[in-house]
Amino acid sequence: MKSKAPIALFSFVVTYLIFLYAPIILLPLFAFNDSSIISFPLSGFTSKWFVGLWYEETMHRALKNSLIIAVVSSVISTIFGILTARALARHQYIGKKPIFGLIMAPLFLPEIIIGVSLLIVMIQIGLTLNIWTVIIGHVLIITPFSVSILAAAFNNMDRSLEEASLDLGETRFGTFRRVILPLVTPGIISSLLIGFTISLDEFVIAFFLTGIEPTLPVYIWAQLRFPSKLPGIMALGFILLVLSLVLLALFEFFRRRSEALTSGKPSSEHQ
């Protein structure tokens, strides 16, 4: 029985949505605003801030760093996710629960704790901070997400599928190549996408662990104190928003494919 929502609830929902969207409506407003000051009233349409981004060398370097870190972190986390998910789904071993707890723990720790503790280790070892220190931090926080996504894929997959492949004469490696990999691939792609997105936007750990080569969020942070740089930052933010939405849509697409493939439920409308 689908009834219409009571008017009080509906008006709350509308107000709440305005609250949620308030900041980001401002983003395109000021990104295209022809004024170097971020305030109302608006001055007119311009795309010069976007053009200006093209020439910002420091921003390009920061972007490059962020991209490298994001790619490497998401790949490593996904590999960890595959190993962990497979071990969880198919094996029993001593310490299964505590080990799982350790790997998932970063989900429940404030990022500053992770960042600070890694910083301490780096200082003690005498390691200079660089891209790799940030990557380590990111892998720690992304891996729990990879594990969740891939555990779902592995758990959904019927155990008998691997046995059936062997029964039909395939080798273990052939089974991996022809059965497991195709079924897990959408999950792998989802994991890579979400890891990439998380890493790209991550600030606190990068802030503590970045050396001379800043990531994009760290760069943005530095720019926020200079009023003249702000419209450019708005433009950058807008671009990042659009990019994130595209990635999100891709992630959703692959997640649905993963679900459909591995559960392989029989369709009821066919006889």
């Binding site: 689908k2 219409k4 929502a5 609830l9 509906f10 709350f12 949505l17 949620l20 969207y21 308030a22 900041p23 980001i24 401002l26 983003l27 000021f30 971020i38 109302f40 009233p41 960890f80 190993l83 962990t84 071990a87 094996h91 029993q92 071993y93 001593i94 080990i99 350790l102 790997i103 723990a105 429940f108 720790l109 404030p110 500053i112 704790i113 600070v116 503790s117 890694l118 910083l119 301490i120 280790v121 003690q124 380590i136 720690l140 891996t143 997105t197 936007d201 600030f203 606190v204 802030f207 503590f208 969020p217 943005i220 942070w221 926020l224 930052i233 708005m234 933010g237 990042l240 994130s244």
Partner: protein
Amino acid sequence: MTASRKLLLKIKNSLPGWRLIGGPFLFGFLLLLTPLFLMVALSLWTQNYLDLDRTITLNNYREIWSHPVYTFLIKRSVLISLSVTLITVLLAFPMAYFISFYGGKRKALWLFLITIPFWTSYLLRIFLWKIILGYNGVVNSGLQSLNLIEEPLSFILYNANAVVIALAHAWAPFAILPIFVALERVDRTMLEAAKDLGDNAIRRFIRVTLPLSMPGIISAALIVFIPTIGDYVTPRLVGGTDGLMVANMIQVQFAKANNAPLGAALAITSLMIVVIIALAFLFFNRRYLRRQV
């Protein structure tokens, strides 16, 4: 089979699993657990200008608990986190309720709509709140042009209020989703049964829906509360001096003040407080956490 033989067999059977999980586990052990222990160790040492005195002492902790600078900051951080949690969860619940009970076929779309604002950079979002709440910001310009106020409101920025507002916004989807999932699991036929037994809409909500969705509410509360204490960006951007939180002080100790041991002690202290509050919260709500019927 003897006990030691049983153990050997268990170890032998564990090998295939260990081979797989070895890498991730080692990574977590070396780079999460060990650093955390090191941080605890560091908090027990003392920084003498450029030298690190490694004698074990609780001085850092004594310093924290005896100086109002720190205790006040910790208290404020806890209060802000609790307020943020309360407000976020309170606001999230009706939204999640709406999507679950009135979303119909478009539930996924509604959820997607909720998350879109949060695919912008976190930094930028908080910064934009500065614009909204500022002296010449959206709220003030708007209220002034509507002639609702004469002077711009100054209590909405550069203090704890701004931090609470900004964080309540930032954590919104993280609270909505778990509550939504829990509400989805509420068996609609139970509500029909309650109606059949004479309860009106409000009583049905209080007696059936609310208790059954408690696990989701508890999850949402923990998801918001635990990381919020350690938030660095928001207090820094919109907190002014009155809205700074413990994470800002931790950062100061590691950077300018060059007192890493004190920073570590602050971090451990905050973590302990968070864990205690979270456990207490779980304990008092334990009857909702028993397995669902």
